[in-house]
């Protein structure tokens, strides 16, 4: 059986309201969560949710751009294994994430400084 490799990664930008329906649709397609990453670009948070299809090696990235104080819903009710990514995002960047299944409350990364990569600590 030959593996069909689809190398071109897909990426689309969505709003917060579309996030959970999109993730449910992706879950139905049987993809696994690959990584979740935050970036502080142009005074806004860029969150990237990557999902991988292991049949054809395709990477799908959902991009959510939010302002600093806006909270995003957690995807852990759909993908329980995303819990560490979301806690990391919360503790290192200070992104507000709601309804994480296991919320560590700043105890996942045992570091002294709060949100070292977040917008407040920039330029220190």
């Amino acid at each position: 059986m030959a593996i069909i490799i689809k190398k071109e990664p897909e990426q689309k930008t969505i709003t917060i309201a579309e996030l959970l329906p999109e993730v449910i649709a992706i879950r139905k397609r049987g993809m696994r969560v690959c990584q979740i990453c935050a970036a502080w670009v142009n005074e806004q948070f860029e969150l990237s949710y990557s999902f991988a299809n292991d049949g054809n090696y395709q990477l799908l990235t959902l991009r959510v751009v939010i302002d600093k104080d806006v909270a995003v819903p957690s995807i852990t009710p759909i993908y329980p294994s995303a819990v560490f990514y979301e806690n990391e995002m919360k503790e290192l960047f200070g992104v507000k994430v709601e309804n994480i299944s296991t919320d560590y409350r700043d105890k996942f990364y045992r570091i002294e400084e709060k949100t070292p990569f977040g917008p407040e600590s920039e330029g220190e």
């Binding site: 990664p9 990584q35 970036a39 990557s50 292991d54 294994s81």
Partner: protein, 362 residues
């Protein structure tokens, strides 16, 4: 009279004989059975990802390389790969082959190190020394060809810095032939010995379904029959080489051992193929301009799939670099595996995901 069990929380780590690096697990125990695991990391968080503000994108190669001591070359390679994809740089073919050879050498080094640690974890000291003795030959090869035993520092954006001549490649193949016979010897002990089997067979079973739900990667996932290997994506020289992902179906510690030993032979085979096919040509091309754009690069490290995300804004300093390391992806799988395990098997089971905490925390 039924005895009433009380649940206890036993802290595991950050300092533990089986862990070379600090990770902390709170094990919730019901008698001798583990019923819950709460991991926490960050004891060696160095903030390498934050250094992008200070060092330009070419210097960041050296930072990326120092993320971890064992997959150091692959970290540098993954970062270069991401930047090259953003800037549309076509690396010369000879550089691609050299990267492949060095990458597979570091996989050999990592897997032999892991086999030694595994032997140490189940208390087979002489097997541990035997593994590390074989690994020493690989380290000598690395030092001969790159100059460093752990940090290779041969990657740059657009190619590699050092060349390997025909004589050196021949020496590589000679040493690898020796290594192969020696690994065949220890393979018998790992796979067939009664004492080893009694510690590994049937311990920490993960089904394919569980692996998929936890998003696990690398040999940990392949040992449960999950056929996924990022080398099939076709970066560097892998599209020209002939290989199939090594899989096993049992999903226990024995299967993970088996997968890693067979990957050693696969790596040796890949180096042989690459050495036979390596083309002549230049080593690197000149890079002009700054990265503008973003890219997710996925590569297969010794421990599994790693993701490098680079976001450039057309300046000398990239805006964001993220490394998602395989151990981080394997953490949910580890928690799932430890549930319903015996407390005495916990150290061995943690070791079978090949944890690399320096990578995880960056």
């Amino acid at each position: 009279m039924a005895r009433k069990h009380k649940r206890n929380i036993v802290p595991f780590g950050p300092q533990h004989p089986v862990l070379p690096e600090p990770i902390h697990l709170d094990l919730v125990l019901d008698d001798e059975k583990v019923v819950g695991v709460i991991p926490s990391v960050g004891f060696i968080h160095r903030g390498l990802e934050g250094l992008v503000e200070k060092w330009d994108f070419k210097e960041m190669v050296y930072v990326a390389e120092r993320t971890c001591g064992i997959c150091s070359f692959q970290h540098g390679m993954g970062y270069c790969e991401a930047v090259e994809q953003i800037m549309n740089i076509e690396v010369p073919p000879r550089a691609k082959y050299l990267r492949t050879i060095w990458g597979e050498t570091s996989r050999l080094h990592s897997h032999l190190l892991w086999l030694g640690l595994m032997a140490d974890a189940f208390g087979f000291e002489s097997l541990f020394y035997q593994c590390w003795r074989i690994r020493e030959k690989i380290l000598d090869l690395i030092e001969l060809s790159t100059g460093g035993r752990v940090i290779f520092s041969v990657n740059q954006i657009g190619g590699v810095l050092k060349d390997m001549d025909a004589e050196m490649l021949k020496h590589f193949l000679d040493v690898l032939a020796e290594v192969e016979t020696e690994v065949r010897e220890i393979q018998k002990t790992f796979m067939l010995d009664y004492t080893v089997q009694s510690r590994t067979v049937g311990v920490g079973v993960m089904t394919k379904r569980q692996i998929h739900a936890c998003g696990s990667v690398g040999p940990f996932a392949r040992a449960s029959g999950f056929k996924v290997d990022m080398r099939k994506l076709g970066y560097e020289a892998y599209p020209d080489l002939d290989f199939e992902p090594v899989i096993s179906n049992d999903g226990d510690c024995y299967a993970r051992c088996d997968v890693r030993i067979r990957e050693i032979f696969q790596s040796i085979d890949l180096i042989r193929q690459a050495a036979a096919k390596i083309p002549d040509g230049e080593l690197a091309i000149k890079v002009k301009g700054n990265p503008d754009g973003e890219c997710f690069a996925r590569i297969e490290q010794p421990r599994g799939e790693a993701i490098y995300y680079v976001r450039g804004t057309g300046k000398k300093f990239v805006n964001r670099m993220r490394i998602r390391t395989p151990t981080f992806a394997n953490l949910p799988g580890l928690c799932e595996m430890l549930k319903n395990a015996d407390y005495a098997d916990v150290p061995l089971m943690i070791l079978t995901i090949d944890p690399c905490i320096s990578c995880t925390e960056r």
